[in-house]
Amino acid sequence: MKITLKLYASLANCLPAEAVKNQAEITVKSDITVREVLDAHNVPFDRCHLILINGVFSPPATAKQATLKDGDALAVWPPVAGG
């Protein structure tokens, strides 16, 4: 299946080479977990502060259980804030 991986701020270094504007469509196995996607791209998990699946917050603590489905967008940020 295919998902969109979006990595921002300092995590952008971990994006695949073909990524454009902080995102890349990647092919993954079915029911892959958030953690598996991040590990596969060497995203330092301790830096993954804000994880959104289709824009909805997914607590980092559940990254090993949270599974993705075809067409999902996984967006991840290190600790950031603004105003």
């Binding site: 979006k6 921002y8 701020a9 300092s10 952008a12 504007k21 902080n22 995102q23 502060h49 804000l50 959104l52 289709n54 824009g55 909805v56 917050f57 607590p59 967008a73 967006a75 940020w77 290190p78 600790p79 950031v80 804030a81 603004g82 105003g83």
Partner: protein, 615 residues
């Protein structure tokens, strides 16, 4: 201690500058800056005055911590009855000006009356005088800054000034200090312009003391350590600034786009922090040059940018080739997503002009978006706009309108009315995305429910800085709540509002609260100031200030009916993203909010509440 205990009262009508002692009874109840300045305004003006009349007063107020080494302790606020809103206005600014005012020995300046001719106030320590600004009238903020420093041969002077926008009554004109830091919202610059006051220039060589230096150094050091060790304030903000939110909020489906028609902007990434740091294709340099701290700030979130010299907005205009204050999130959103423009360099240029001529980019972008909405609906035509096609997405149009609004020429004069007046003028008030006349900032209440209540109840009109529930609802600080739910938001908003009022009154920046709670702040305030300052007493002071501001607005003629959101947010559901199909649940939150506030069902504080708080 901490307070200088001196107020400068400037009567512009009479041309006098008089020193008077600070009312310490009030200081111990309202702390300083926002709280104390508002207390003075409450006591001294009729809330029903015309904001642009000589009877309105304008107060520049520092906090007790302003000028100390507590992190971010360089702030001041401008408190007045807002030109844009007619409500209480309190616009908070950083840079170095606030601290300099304190070093000159003043907690506060109260401006009253109106000068017959343009003047500027020059303060060199305890010497304050009004000087002719006839040669400065018509000049930009930047030129005014340079001219005053040259006149006084004082490169170390810090200057807060209005540009042409403020002179000509742009309703959301701001007061810009240190070239690119602004008391930005509610049209405080228009009030200053109405008084014929061009600038306030300060040089201070005195020191600021605190009550207990030992305890103060210990608590501020602990505070700075906490900021440094916190990943958000220690790494995220200095590296990416507030602009990192562009993609976060867009992904969350709460980035208001094209005058709130949409909640996601397809080109958000082009105008984000990530884009600012990316080398440009044109010249190989990134838009972002470096970051800058305000006085005493150990976070340093400020952006300093440089526009590509060949970009259409600055080609042949070398005065814009140097480094200047760059895009912060709110400005990038208002100038970009709200208007549908994705040209980062054009946004940067428009932001420069906002700083140079002194007007609020949030209100400007939102007003322009409303005008575009009306243009696309055929309400406005080329005849109205001076031949310009006001279509969403045009970078050339954005920069042109920024120029015109800065000098209040052509259609810029219409844009200077602000969204509410403009839409009313053309018979489409519902297209104005405002509360109490003030334009929304960069969070869509359909995607972040708490912000709907925040906007509706903000005492200065729609504003994110009165209770930044985004912190909890999106970023999980201090704890995560569901942005799509209205549950518990009344209490959350109240807690954020009260805590923020306390932080704003201490002289600190609200951004510290990404890492600090009142548990971190109270020891710093307590060591600096007389009185007993604990998290509880700070919270209580915050609540007291909130209720006082509410009372001002009620006396000014506002009521619970003004705690509302535009129809678009209540009726038109979000089209995409997590909030797809949702509208704001304000109607559910508001009654609960009144209840937790101790207000009656009409939104009026009960006698019991007021007496409990000693308002």
């Amino acid at each position: 201690m901490a307070w200088t205990r001196k107020i400068l009262r400037v009567n512009l009508t009479e041309g006098t500058c008089v020193s008077e002692p600070l009312n310490m009874d009030w200081a111990l109840k309202y702390l300083g800056q926002r709280g104390l300045g508002t207390k003075y305004l409450m006591e001294e003006i009729d809330p029903k005055v015309d904001p642009l009349s000589p009877d309105n007063k304008m107060i520049f107020a520092t906090g007790p911590l302003t000028g100390t080494c507590a992190s971010t302790a360089g702030r001041y606020s401008v408190i007045t009855k807002g030109a844009l809103t007619g409500a209480i206005a309190c616009s908070n600014s950083g840079g170095y000006f606030g601290a300099e005012l304190k070093f000159a020995g003043w907690d506060m300046i109260i401006f009253e009356g109106k000068s017959e001719k343009p003047v500027y106030l020059c303060i060199i320590d305890d010497k304050a005088e009004l000087l002719s600004a006839e040669g400065l009238w018509g000049k930009s903020v930047w030129d005014t800054d340079a001219a005053i420093k040259a006149t006084h041969q004082e490169p170390m002077m810090h200057i807060a000034a209005i540009g042409v926008a403020g002179e000509k009554g742009n309703m959301y004109a701001c007061i810009v200090n240190d070239l690119h830091r602004a008391a930005g919202r509610s049209g405080v610059g228009a009030v200053m312009g109405s008084k014929n006051l061009k600038a306030v220039a300060v040089r201070g060589t005195g020191g600021v003391s605190v009550e207990d230096f030992g305890a103060f150094m210990k608590s501020t050091e602990a505070g700075k350590k906490a900021l440094a060790e916190n990943a958000v304030t220690g790494e995220g903000l200095p590296a990416y600034g507030t602009q990192v939110l562009m993609n976060v909020i867009n992904e969350s489906g709460a980035l208001p786009t094209r005058n709130f028609r949409d909640v996601q902007f397809e080109s958000a990434n082009d105008i984000s922090a990530e884009a600012m740091a990316e080398p440009r294709r044109s010249d190989g340099k990134p838009n972002l040059l470096t970051n800058q701290a305000c006085f005493s700030c150990t976070i340093a979130c400020g952006r300093i940018s440089q526009i590509d010299k060949d970009h259409f907005s600055v080609v042949n205009k070398p005065e814009y080739w140097g480094a200047e204050g760059g895009l912060e999130y709110e400005a990038a959103w208002a100038l970009g997503a709200a208007t549908g423009v994705k040209d980062l360099e054009a946004l940067t240029y428009a932001n420069y002009i906002c700083n140079e001529q002194g007007y609020d980019p949030i209100s400007f972008g939102s007003t322009l978006a409303a005008a575009m909405d009306m243009y696309e609906e055929g309400v406005l035509t080329k005849k109205d706009t001076g031949g310009v096609e006001l279509k969403f997405g045009s970078a050339e149009m954005l920069t042109k309108m920024a120029d015109l609004t800065g000098t209040m020429e052509g259609f810029g004069e219409q844009l200077g009315l602000g969204s509410k007046r403009l839409c009313e003028k053309y018979g489409r008030p519902e297209l104005s995305m405002t509360v109490k006349g003030q334009e929304f900032p960069a969070y869509d209440p359909r995607g972040i429910q708490g912000m709907g209540l925040t906007y509706a109840t903000s005492n200065r009109g729609a504003c994110h800085l009165r209770s930044y529930t985004v912190s909890s609802e999106i970023l999980g600080i201090p704890e995560k709540t569901d942005p799509l739910s209205t549950d518990g938001k009344a209490g959350l908003v109240k807690a954020f509002q009260d805590a923020t009022a306390a932080v704003d009154s201490a002289g600190l920046c609200i951004f510290t609260t990404f890492a600090w709670t009142l548990e971190d702040i109270a020891p710093q305030v307590d060591a600096a100031c007389e009185g007993n300052w604990t998290p509880d007493t700070l919270m209580e002071a915050g609540e007291r200030i909130w209720n006082m501001e509410r009372n001002f607005n009620l006396a000014a003629g506002f009521s619970g009916k003004d705690d509302e959101l535009p129809k678009r947010l209540m009726k038109d559901a979000a089209k995409t993203g997590p909030a797809k199909g949702m509208v704001s649940g304000l109607d559910k939150m508001l009654p609960e909010y009144y209840e937790v506030r101790g207000w009656n069902t009409k939104g009026v504080p009960t006698e019991e509440t007021l007496s409990r708080l000693g308002v």
